[in-house]
């Protein structure tokens, strides 16, 4: 790992422990939302929004996976936002300034296709987008009237309708559909006419899957720390919980899954074309490991105090957003 990435790791980790660790629980259970402009606050301290400018092309992917994983240790919602943002940055290299990007990846369904008319007005609404309140730019695939496909960026006061409050996790973020006919759009930039729309979508999607795995490695690392501490301190039947073989096996298994996820991310940085296969080969293992981890704490695992149930809820939300087994 390069010195640059080590430095990024250290500064993000320091920030995480100092600021995110204590605040995230408060945002989740008391405030039910991240503070306004929080991404800008983070960027003013760490300068990680325009990461490619910081790392250059060579270290960008590795640095982004390190940052996402570290953020996920304290606040999965933030990690997810950066996972989205870095996915766009690694798909298209046009963005050179400090804009935070929200991305719309339509499902394969026809119902979520957007059109742009001759007056450059967008017709329709997006599927549910998460964390749109922090976005400076939206990047959206559209069709024109001749069925040409474009990738456009949109800025302005985008009106959010049909908010969804029912995600099991990520509850510090808003989840809504952008309604373009009622939005005050400042600027639409057609930056790319895409001959093969599927190819663009596929590339973005694969980057997203890799970054999601980085989110999962952070989630698993926290779960691992929580259960290791618990089972090494508490007793059942007069002996430490960790001495009981079913529990020991669960702890061991989580260790294996963490190693598997981390090495998968590394492989995917080199071989992004395998993202889908490798993601779907491992995602259920991650979920099962998290479900099992709650067992180690018995009833306490199910209550909010220890934070494990929140990890499962957050994980489940991230997984649900990009599940395409049936696509």
């Amino acid at each position: 790992m390069s010195e640059l990435i080590n430095n990024i790791r250290e500064s993000v980790d320091k920030f995480r422990k100092k600021e995110l660790e204590k605040n995230c629980k408060y945002w989740e259970f008391e405030e039910r939302g991240l503070p306004d402009n929080y991404i800008k606050q983070i960027d003013s301290k760490l300068g990680i929004v325009n990461l490619r400018a910081l790392t250059g092309d060579e270290d960008f992917l590795e640095a982004s996976s390190v940052i996402i994983s570290l953020l996920a240790k304290s606040c999965v919602s933030l990690a997810f936002l950066f996972a989205q943002h870095y996915s766009v940055l690694s798909t298209v290299s046009l963005f050179k300034d400090n804009k935070f990007i929200s991305v719309f990846i339509p499902y394969v369904t026809e119902g979520s296709v957007l059109y742009i008319n001759q007056k450059d007005r967008i017709v329709g609404e997006t599927d549910f987008l998460l964390g749109h309140e922090f976005a400076d730019i939206f990047i959206i695939p559209v069709y024109d009237e001749n069925d040409n496909r474009y990738i456009i960026t949109v800025t302005g006061e985008l009106s959010v309708e049909d908010s969804l409050d029912f995600m099991p996790g990520l509850s510090v973020l808003n989840f809504g559909k952008i309604h373009f006919t009622t939005s005050k759009i400042n600027k639409i930039t057609k930056f790319s006419k895409v001959k093969n729309f599927e190819e663009y979508r596929d590339k973005l999607y694969k980057n997203m899957l890799r970054n999601q795995l980085s989110v999962y490695s952070g989630i698993l690392a926290v779960a691992y720390d929580i259960i290791k501490k618990y089972v090494n301190e508490r007793k059942q039947g007069g002996v430490l919980i960790v001495e009981h073989s079913p529990v020991r096996n669960i702890v061991k298994n989580i260790g294996y899954v963490i190693a598997e996820v981390e090495s998968t991310v590394k492989v995917l940085i080199e071989r992004p074309e395998n993202s889908k296969e490798m993601y779907f080969a491992i995602v259920d293992k991650v979920e099962d490991a998290l479900i099992d981890s709650i067992q180690c704490l018995g009833g306490y695992g199910y209550m909010e105090d220890y934070g494990l149930e929140k990890l499962l809820r957050d994980f489940r939300s991230v997984k649900s957003l990009f599940t395409e087994q049936f696509g």
């Binding site: 049909d162 059942q236 007069g238 209550m303 997984k319």
Partner: protein, 481 residues
């Protein structure tokens, strides 16, 4: 040429793991017909009262209205006698079997396991009284509870067993021996002084009576484990807090404190130290219905998935047009069927072999039932002593330890299968449904959160598997022919 010698395969009779061949315990035709009718009644109730409010109740409690209890639904259930479903006919209850109750729990849980479990936890609390065989206690607690239910005033019971440092420990003998039990009921003149805390007590904050387990001597918890009835207005009893849970939020789970609470001798169930046998019997009864809750959660999610996949607005890839979806639904259907068979077997096994049969019979038909009625009308301390004696004899002569252990195996198995099925099915269905503000998605994510608890309460799945496995390991119940 020398004939090759082959080793002979061992003949091991695993069927003997159970004290009766299972096939004999399958329900009869008439019973199946009746239970289908009953299931339909509960489904209609669920449609009218639970499906209409489950999501709102869940949302309301999770987003701040922490102490909200869906009393209206409870009262609607009371009009159908849901609180007293398991109470003996002799006290005015329905004298329902655990199998009937398990079917009730499955169908209610398909709507909302949180709401269903208010009734479930009540039955778990009342079970200590029901199984006490003590007509004096029945007269003082169950008869008024039934009368009150008929008047529309709920009398709720809760069972308190788990301690802050002892979860699974309190559910098996070795755990009680070595576990960190901090509660204690010290004998004093005329009764006992109870001290200690209990955690995760379902219905703990809304119960009128807590059926609490405590040792008379915490260092000999396994030998002195006893059961006490504590009214929630007793001096020294306090609800410390209700927990913020991931799911099943409609059933409040409370931490409760006993600070020198006095319980008169008459309010101890059974003889001193009889608590473990009683707890074992309750778990042998309740784990089947817990498996039913898991089955119900899976069923509820499955119904959502079928409706979603049939909806014309659902993307083709996720609809019944896609053979992968059809195959998935078939797989989930199979799992739910197996889970249902498993809890039906466990519960009917309990009803036929463990549950004292006397209150299941029409009390006028059988002389002993009639005798109960007379005795309840003349409650006296003597009757309490008679009941305690009867309970001891019952455990000694009618329910052998082997019978109870075998029942625990099938009940634990049903519980584990139910919990795992609920988790598996809800997980798969959340993968199928696209997140949106539709009832399909909101309902499925709720049931996913609800499902996780089945793997934890009534002993974690790991503990239950250990119980099953230990019986296999020691070879107590199978033999080499």
């Amino acid at each position: 040429m020398k004939k090759k010698q082959f080793p002979v395969l061992p003949s091991v009779c695993y069927e003997d793991l159970l004290f009766k061949p299972r096939i004999n315990n399958l329900p009869e035709k008439k019973y199946i017909k009746n239970s289908q009718q009953f299931r339909e009644e509960i489904r209609v109730f669920s449609k009218e009262h639970i499906l209409t409010s489950a999501l709102e109740t869940d949302w309301r409690i999770r987003t701040g209205d922490h102490d909200y209890v869906p009393w209206e639904i409870i009262k609607s259930g009371m009009r159908k006698g849901f609180l007293s479903m398991l109470y003996p006919k002799a006290v005015g209850g329905q004298g329902g079997t655990t199998t009937k109750f398990a079917i009730f729990m499955e169908e209610m849980s398909a709507g909302c396991p949180g709401i269903a479990n208010i009734f479930g936890a009540n039955a778990l609390g009342a079970a200590s009284l029901i199984f006490s065989l003590n007509m004096e206690l029945w007269a003082r607690y169950l008869v008024p509870a039934v009368k009150s239910e008929k008047k529309g005033k709920p009398v709720i019971f809760a069972w308190a067993i788990t301690e802050p440092s002892a979860g699974s420990d309190v559910e098996y003998l070795d755990g009680l021996k070595k576990g960190a039990i901090y509660s204690e009921a010290k004998p004093v003149v005329g009764g006992y002084r109870l001290n200690g805390r209990k955690v995760f007590i379902s219905n703990g904050s809304i119960a009128d009576y807590i059926l609490v387990k405590m040792p008379l001597n915490r260092k000999k918890a396994d030998k002195t484990w006893s059961t006490f009835i504590v009214p929630s207005n007793a001096v020294g009893f306090k609800v410390v807090r209700t927990e913020n849970k991931m799911g099943q939020v409609a059933t409040p789970a409370a931490e409760i404190e006993f600070d020198d609470v006095f319980v008169p001798s008459n309010d101890m169930i059974g003889k001193p130290g009889s608590g473990f046998n009683m707890a074992k019997m309750i778990l042998a009864a309740s784990r089947g219905p817990v498996g039913a809750i898991g089955t119900g959660i899976a069923l509820g999610a499955f119904r959502l998935a079928v409706a979603y996949a049939s909806d014309s607005e659902t993307p083709l890839e996720r609809s019944l047009q896609n053979s992968a979806v059809v195959e998935l639904l078939a797989e989930l259907f199979n799992k739910i069927r197996l889970s249902r068979l498993s809890y039906i077997e466990a519960s009917s096994n309990f009803d036929k072999n463990i549950l004292p049969p006397m209150w299941l019979q029409d009390s006028l038909k059988y002389p002993f039932g009639g005798l109960q009625k007379i005795m309840i009308g003349n409650s006296r301390t003597k009757i309490k002593e008679f009941g305690d004696e009867l309970l001891e004899k019952y455990f000694k002569y009618l329910i052998s330890s082997e019978k109870l252990d075998s029942q625990l195996i099938v009940a634990s198995s049903a519980k584990v299968i139910g919990g795992d099925t609920a988790m598996f099915v809800t997980k798969k269905i959340l993968d199928l449904i696209i997140p949106s503000s539709s009832a399909y998605w909101i309902g499925a994510q709720k049931l996913y959160r609800d499902a996780k608890l089945i793997q934890i309460y009534e002993g974690t799945n790991q503990l239950n598997k250990q119980e099953i496995g230990n019986n296999l390991k020691t070879g107590k119940r199978f033999y080499n022919e």
